[in-house]
């Protein structure tokens, strides 16, 4: 249960970290909070010759409202998001999904960027990023670039980032108007990875028609999934005419890589997913109607 030996690097800036990644190549891995990486190292499911610790780089920290979006530094801890009034106000889905992540002890170390870069399909922040069309800021020695969340999650624990690229931050769009938000998960124990879950955002017009809907799915594929067909089905319709249960069914209808495990077969997960979507949809719409 002890990690294999590695060389430790603690660059002071994001540029230095990117330079280190470029120099060290495939043998290096970024270490932030370590709440996913260190277990993999301890179990020796992963071995790296070099770890580049970005956890203390000041430029990767912070939660800031910038024009039209909320910027969250990659090394910002989940606990910081949990405490942030700015996050709760600007991107409620980000704030409300946070208590579902692990436990207090995990959230005090785990980072937003770590969760997004680890890209676990059962994790909360990847689903939120995908549902809200977040943009991921990455940096390498070739310069900075921005990746849309829709292009970022490319496979199981796999992202569009090159091995020498560092995740610097994420921009989450800020919605305004009559909005409602909800997160629903089913897990055997609180803090476990959910069997299935859903994150939902909805904006209603003054006429109670759905102006926009965002539905992210947790644990229902090899990547976080977005229920685009269900979103399209809801858009423009009077919210009172939308049957939440039917919408839940629509959200899981097109999924083709629902995992099966000890918690049950894929069909069970799919059913749980539909229920999570319908519950989250109902809750989010209720909030939006009162707004």
């Amino acid at each position: 249960m002890k990690p294999a030996p590695f060389q430790y690097h603690a660059p002071g800036t994001a540029d230095e970290a990117a330079a280190a990644l470029a120099e060290l190549g495939d043998e290096a891995k970024v270490l932030a909070g370590g709440q996913s990486l260190v277990p993999l190292l301890a179990l020796r499911l992963a071995v790296f010759d070099h770890l580049v610790d970005v956890g203390r780089i000041a430029g990767l920290q912070g939660i800031e409202r910038r024009d039209g979006h909320l910027w969250v530094g990659a090394a910002t801890t989940e606990a910081a998001v949990e405490r942030s009034a700015e996050a709760a106000d600007a991107v409620p889905l980000l704030a409300r999904s946070t208590p579902f992540i692990g436990h207090t002890q995990i959230r005090n170390r785990g980072t937003v960027g770590g969760s997004l870069a680890h890209a676990d399909p059962a994790a909360e922040y990847p689903a939120v990023a995908l549902a809200l069309d977040a943009e991921l800021e990455v940096l390498s020695v070739r310069g900075p670039r921005t990746i849309a969340a829709a292009d970022y999650f490319t496979g199981l624990w796999t992202t569009a980032m090159a091995p020498d690229e560092l995740l610097v931050g994420a921009r989450f769009p800020v919605w305004s108007g009559r909005c409602g938000w909800a997160v629903e998960e089913l897990a055997r124990r609180h803090g476990d990875y959910a069997i299935a879950g859903a994150v939902v955002g909805v904006e209603l017009g003054d006429d109670d028609r759905v102006r926009r809907a965002a539905i992210g799915l947790i644990g229902l594929g090899s990547t976080p999934e977005r229920a685009a067909a269900a979103e399209a089905e809801a858009a423009g319709r009077p919210v009172g005419e939308i049957d939440a249960a039917a919408l839940g069914q629509a959200a899981v209808a097109g999924l083709d890589a629902v995992p099966a495990d000890l918690n049950g077969p894929a069909a069970y997960r799919r059913r749980v997913g539909a229920t999570m979507v319908s519950r989250a949809w109902a809750t989010a719409c209720e909030e939006a109607r009162r707004a």
Binding site: M1, K2, P3, A4, P5, F6, Q7, Y8, A10, L31, G34, Q35, V38, P39, L41, A42, L43, L51, D53, G55, A79, P99, G102, H103, T104, Q105, I106, N108, R109, R189, H190, G191
Partner: protein, 179 residues
Amino acid sequence: MHEVPVEIVVNGRAHRAEVEPRLTLADFLRERCGLTGTHLGCEHGVCGACTVLVDGQPVRSCLQFAVQARGAEVTTVEALAAPDGELSPVQAAFRDAHGLQCGFCTPGFVVTVTAFLRDHPDPSDAEIRDALSGNLCRCTGYQGIVAAVRLAATSVDVSGRLPTRNVHGMVSPAPPPPS
């Protein structure tokens, strides 16, 4: 392998050492500081037995390398009791409310609960259970632990000082609120 210098303040005392980067904070505390109260159960972040406070916040010390804690202030279970050995309110409540049996998980629980009650002095039962969810106990079935947290919460008076309590009293299902 290449060793690196670290300096970590543990329970108010600075500890300097040359360590391998792969040395976890938990092993640093146990092997380099001789503080074996921090227990290692699973060593991959599941059980919570190794919970310590880093800069006041509870973390799993098996999921943090000692080098990552350079310059940090770490508080372990050894710092909770008074210098004369008198148990802290949380420790006393665990004893009084049968919040432990074999005791292996207990250091992680009492450290977690100490920070939790600092931040949530009047928790609901749901908040208590949520706060305990990151720590596993294989003996008690948790009921005594939940009762211990309730007892500890009621034992701290509003000024933060500790009233004397009947240390032999088994906690009742609903202990009286502080006056």
